[in-house]
C-alpha cells in the first residue's frame, strides 16, 4: 500500500471498542481500508474480524470510537445514504420464496429508489450490468432456489453490485462453497477489483486464498491488528505463529508467486 492510498482511505475506523454478546472483543482498534485495493482480513476464529466488518458497515454500533466513510462519520449518514456508497454481503441472507435471479438482483436498486418510484432505465441497466459482470445473466429468469451454491453466491454479489457502490464488503463469501467455486468466486472478486475498479474488503478463512488474492492483507488476533500490508511483504512463519499459533514454512506459490503457507504439524 502506498501513502497516497492511505490518505484517500474511503473507510476508516478509529479507536474502536467492539463487543459481541456483551463481551469485549477489541479495544482501541484502528483500521484504514486503502482505496482501490483488494483488502483481505484474516485471523483465527473469534479474533473480531467479522465484528469489525459489521461495524465498518454500520450493522453494529461500536461501544466506543468512530467509523469514517468518505470523510464523514458513518453514524451521521441516513442508512440509505450509506447504501449508496458502501455495499455489503453479509454471511447469511435468505432468498425469499421462489424469487427469480432478476428480481433478487433488482432489490439491490433499493437505495437508489424513492418512495413509490417506478422502475427506470438506469435501474434496468445497473441490474443487467451486475448480472453480466458476475456471469449470471443467462440465469435471469430462474428461481434462486434452483441454483447451485456457487451460482447463488454470484447472484448475491450481483445484487450488491446493482447498488453501484465503489466500495464492497464481503463477510466470508466462500465459506459454504466447494473448492472449485471458491476459486471461481475469488477470481471474480479479483476481476471486480482489477478490471472494474472496485475497492473490496473481504473476510476469509483460508490463509492461502488470502495470500493469493489479497493486494492488502490485514492479520488480526485478539481484536488487534498484528500486521498489515502486501502479502509478500508481511507473511512470514513468525507472523503465522503469532496470529494462529501454528508452526509452518512459507514457500513460493508456483502458480501465483505469492506466499504459500505449509503447516509443519507436530
Amino acid at each position: 500500500m502506498n501513502a497516497e492510498n492511505l490518505l484517500t482511505a474511503p473507510l476508516r475506523a478509529e479507536n474502536l471498542t467492539l463487543s459481541y454478546d456483551k463481551k469485549i472483543v477489541a479495544r482501541d482498534l484502528s483500521v484504514s481500508i486503502p482505496h482501490g485495493e483488494l483488502t483481505v482480513i484474516i485471523g483465527p476464529n473469534a479474533c473480531g474480524k467479522s465484528t469489525l466488518l459489521k461495524t465498518l458497515s454500520r450493522l453494529m454500533q461500536p461501544e466506543a470510537g468512530s467509523v469514517w466513510l468518505n470523510g464523514q462519520q458513518i453514524r451521521d449518514y441516513a442508512t440509505k445514504d450509506v447504501a449508496r456508497q458502501l455495499g455489503l454481503l453479509p454471511q447469511s441472507s435468505t432468498a425469499p420464496g421462489d424469487i427469480t435471479v432478476f428480481d433478487l438482483v433488482a432489490r439491490g436498486r433499493y437505495p437508489h429508489q424513492r418512495l413509490f418510484s417506478r422502475w427506470r432505465e438506469e435501474d434496468q441497466q445497473a441490474v443487467e450490468q451486475a448480472m453480466h459482470s458476475t456471469g449470471v445473466a443467462q440465469l435471469a429468469d430462474q428461481p434462486v432456489d434452483t441454483l447451485s451454491g456457487g451460482q447463488r453466491q454470484r447472484v448475491w454479489i450481483a445484487m450488491v453490485l446493482a447498488q453501484q457502490t465503489p466500495l464492497l464488503l464481503l463477510d466470508e463469501p466462500t465459506t459454504w462453497l466447494d473448492i472449485t467455486h471458491q476459486i471461481d468466486l475469488l477470481e471474480l472478486l479479483r476481476q471486480l477489483n482489477r478490471v472494474n475498479g472496485y475497492t473490496l474488503v473481504v473476510v476469509l478463512h483460508d490463509l492461502n486464498h488470502a495470500c493469493r488474492y489479497a493486494t492488502h492483507l490485514i492479520a488480526m488476533r485478539d481484536g488487534k491488528v498484528v500486521a498489515e500490508g502486501a502479502p509478500k511483504d508481511i507473511v512470514t512463519p513468525e507472523l503465522i505463529e503469532e496470529v494462529y499459533g501454528l508452526k509452518c514454512m512459507i514457500i513460493d506459490d508456483p502458480v501465483s508467486h505469492t506466499p504459500l503457507v505449509v503447516p509443519l504439524g507436530k
Binding site: R58, L59, A83, G87, S92, T94, R107, A137, Q138
Partner: protein, 341 residues
C-alpha cells in the same frame, strides 16, 4: 471462469408483471361478479341488470334503497374487511417469516375484541368508542406479546407461541366479560363474538373504514421495505433499510388493519391466515400484496354469501364459516406436510 456472457435480451421488468396483473384482474372480476350476485339474491330476487341500474341511481327508488342502503354496506364491507385481514396476515407472516404468524393465530384480533368488549360492557360505548377500543385492545395486546416474547430481541417462533398463549387467555377473558355483562350488552357483544356482518351499516363502519384506509396507505409506503426485511436484518440494513423503525411501522399497520376489521365485525378468523397463502400459490411471484388483498376480499365475501344463505332463514355468523374453512385448510396443510416426509 467464463465472463463472456452473450448479450441476450432480458425481459424488461414491466413484462414480468404480466402474470400478477392478469391474476389481479381475474380476482377483481370475480369479486365484482360475486358482489352483484350478493346484491341481487336474497329474499327479494333481483337480476344483475336491476342491481347495476340501482347502483347507478337509475330504476325504481325502492330498489335503489334495498340495494344501496340495505345490501351494499354488507357486501362492500365484506370486501374491504376481507382485504384488510388478508393484508394484515401478509404483514405478520412476512415479519415473522412463518405462515402461522397470522394476527388471528397470535391473538391480535382476540385482543382487539377484548377492547371492544371493555367499551361495550363497561362504558356502553358508541361506534367511535368501539373502534377506539378495538385499536387500543389490538395495540396493547401486540405490545404485551412483543414484550413477553422479548429476550435479547424477538424470535419469531417464540412470539407465535407466546401469542397463542395470550390468545387463549384473552379468549377466556372475553367469555368472562360477556357472561358477567348485563343482558343487553351481552346480546350486543355476543352477536359478533365469532365475527359477523349481520346488521352492518355505513354509519357503524365509517371510523373503522378510515383507519383501514390509513393503514393501507402506510403499508403501501412500506411494501418495498417489507420485502427486503424478508431477506434477513443484515441484508436489509446493508441495502439501506432502517430495520427497527420499518419493522415497528409494519407492526403498527398490521395491528391497525386487524383491529379495525374487528371493530366492525368482531374477530373473524382464518382470512388473515389463508389469504396470503392462496395469493402466493395463485402467482409464483413475490409482489403479492395486491393479490392478497383481493383474495382476502373474495374469501370473506364468498364466506358471507354462503353463511347468509346456507340455513335460510337463519343466518350463520360469517366467522363460523371462516373457522371451518380454516380448519379444512389446516388439515390439508398437515396432510401435505406428512406426505412430504
Amino acid at each position: 471462469m467464463s465472463l463472456m456472457v452473450s448479450h441476450q435480451t432480458l425481459a424488461k421488468k414491466p413484462l414480468r408483471l404480466a402474470r400478477p396483473l392478469a391474476t389481479a384482474l381475474l380476482l377483481l372480476f370475480t369479486c365484482l361478479a360475486l358482489a352483484i350476485y350478493a346484491l341481487g339474491s336474497s329474499t327479494l330476487k333481483l337480476s344483475a341488470m336491476q342491481v347495476i341500474d340501482a347502483l347507478r341511481g337509475e330504476g325504481p327508488a325502492n330498489l335503489a334503497v334495498i340495494v344501496t342502503q340495505w345490501r351494499l354496506p354488507r357486501v362492500a364491507l365484506a370486501l374491504l374487511l376481507g382485504a384488510a385481514l388478508g393484508l394484515s396476515g401478509a404483514i405478520f407472516q412476512s415479519l415473522l417469516r412463518n405462515p402461522l404468524g397470522s394476527p388471528d393465530v397470535i391473538g391480535f384480533n382476540t385482543g382487539a375484541y377484548s377492547g371492544v368488549l371493555v367499551v361495550i360492557v363497561l362504558f356502553n360505548g358508541s361506534i367511535l368508542g368501539i373502534t377506539f377500543g378495538a385499536l387500543a385492545g389490538g395495540l396493547i395486546t401486540a405490545g404485551l406479546i412483543y414484550l413477553l416474547a422479548w429476550r435479547n430481541g424477538v424470535e419469531a417462533f417464540r412470539l407465535i407461541i407466546v401469542g397463542i398463549a395470550v390468545r387463549a387467555l384473552l379468549f377466556a377473558l372475553n367469555t368472562w366479560m360477556i357472561v358477567s355483562a348485563s343482558l343487553e350488552s351481552a346480546m350486543t357483544a355476543g352477536l359478533w363474538s365469532a365475527g359477523s356482518l349481520n346488521g352492518i351499516s355505513w354509519a357503524k363502519s365509517l371510523p373503522a373504514v378510515l383507519v383501514i384506509l390509513l393503514a393501507v396507505m402506510l403499508l403501501a409506503a412500506l411494501a418495498r421495505r417489507m420485502r427486503l426485511l424478508e431477506m434477513g436484518d443484515d441484508t436489509a440494513c446493508a441495502l439501506g433499510v432502517a430495520v427497527e423503525r420499518s419493522r415497528l411501522l409494519l407492526f403498527l399497520a398490521g395491528v391497525l388493519l386487524t383491529a379495525a376489521a374487528t371493530a366492525v365485525a368482531g374477530p373473524i378468523s382464518f382470512i388473515a391466515l389463508v389469504a396470503p397463502q392462496i395469493a402466493r400459490r395463485l402467482c409464483a411471484n413475490q409482489n403479492v400484496l395486491l393479490l392478497t388483498a383481493l383474495t382476502g376480499a373474495l374469501l370473506l365475501l364468498a364466506a358471507d354469501v354462503v353463511a347468509q344463505r346456507l340455513f335460510m332463514p337463519y343466518q350463520l355468523p360469517v366467522g363460523v364459516l371462516t373457522v371451518s374453512l380454516g380448519g379444512i385448510y389446516l388439515i390439508w396443510l398437515l396432510i401435505r406436510e406428512s406426505r412430504k416426509k
